[in-house]
Symmetry: C2
Subunit: 231 residues, 2 copies
Amino acid sequence: MSAPQETDSRRRLNREEVLRTALELVDSEGLEALSMRRLGQALDRDPMGLYRYAANRADLLDGITELVLNELAIFPTDPDWQAQLRRIAHDLRLLALRHPNVVPLLVTRPLSTPLGLRPLGTLRPLEQILGLLIEAGFAPNDALHVYRAYYGFLYGHILNELQEYIVDPEENVALLRLGLHRLPARDFPNLRELAPVLADYDGEAELDEGISILLSGLAERLTTGKEAPAG
Amino acid sequence: MSAPQETDSRRRLNREEVLRTALELVDSEGLEALSMRRLGQALDRDPMGLYRYAANRADLLDGITELVLNELAIFPTDPDWQAQLRRIAHDLRLLALRHPNVVPLLVTRPLSTPLGLRPLGTLRPLEQILGLLIEAGFAPNDALHVYRAYYGFLYGHILNELQEYIVDPEENVALLRLGLHRLPARDFPNLRELAPVLADYDGEAELDEGISILLSGLAERLTTGKEAPAG
DNA sequence: GCCTAGAGTCTACGGTGTAGATGCATTCGG
DNA sequence: CCGAATGCATCTACACCGTAGACTCTAGGC
């Protein structure tokens, strides 16, 4: 009882438990480190046994994205929809920074599955944000457009920020300089000149600024009753 | 000579040729269909011989993204920067629709490679758009911010649109209805109600609308000399 | 004619996802 | 209390993967 780990290996697992250690594996060693055999040995179980909790590897990946998205709290009945959208944006950003290795999953998996057939957990944010917007007074049609603009902006920002994200900030500048120095000066003058600016990128501030612009635009469209902008 | 295909297999290949048929393979059969062996047999060559043109599989993928991005024409000296940005946006959208299977690559590869070490071809759009903006009068600092907003919006939109994209529009409605019907009504009322709206999503119009909003915001900031919005 | 260098080929190794057979333990029917 | 059945865990095996290293073959220089 002192060690509820994998040592007494006869404990019965469940899907969530499997997904959780799969997530740990991805977080610590990257996506391609996640194989059935590797996961099996992390759980001290036969790899084949895992098929009891995930139909196949793809389903495992879907489960991970679902698990991660469940970390995101949304309160669709909050009357202050702007504050809510702003908080969700920051939360999602932090979530992406916490699990950078699963961001490719977040972004990629939906591309290969028609909307209606996706894991329910991944549709929850969409549903709830639609609810939030409709509650706030948007017509359902417009709510969808607003969601697209919001979601598009968010994912765009996350991709932006993660592309320039490197764990050790010390190393950041070094690597950046190193890499940019490699660029042929005559073909990439602008990029090289902007190296220092690239190096100190404040993702949180940039996200917040962008969200402010978006929200003010949306609020105006809500009160004047015009159609919402595209995303 | 009548068939410059793979039949007389003694012709010497080059990297571009290899990448091009790799791209064809990905376009027609998906990303996971691209293996060294498969590609080798598509070129009627020994799979090992391909390592002459790509250091490894990752390099092959990088090459494909580079090849695809090269389809994008940018004229950094065009004085009408707004028209230019609008055209590029539409071109990139079409490019994504033309090669939906490589979009995951476009989006994912940069996440695993520090900016400075990326294939030069993938940095060209960044460099040239920075040039365009600086030429237009933005301070280099602001140009970077503007680029991020622009790029983030674009990629966000593409991800949005591709998630709802299905080849056969006939099937589209069917699948969508089918899928959404599967959703538990009490948990997903909004999503189910919006099914018809989801079905006819005009990506081009939505992109154009969004770009207009973005550009007008940017133009204003350019003339008033304020800082650019975040992305 | 021979030697060399390089391109093309083959084999082999350690990994992968997963189908199917097999072993095992537990529970149920009599 | 015993046998059968039922479901879970495990094992083996197959087809595929990326790629290191050895080998063969060819073309060109002397």
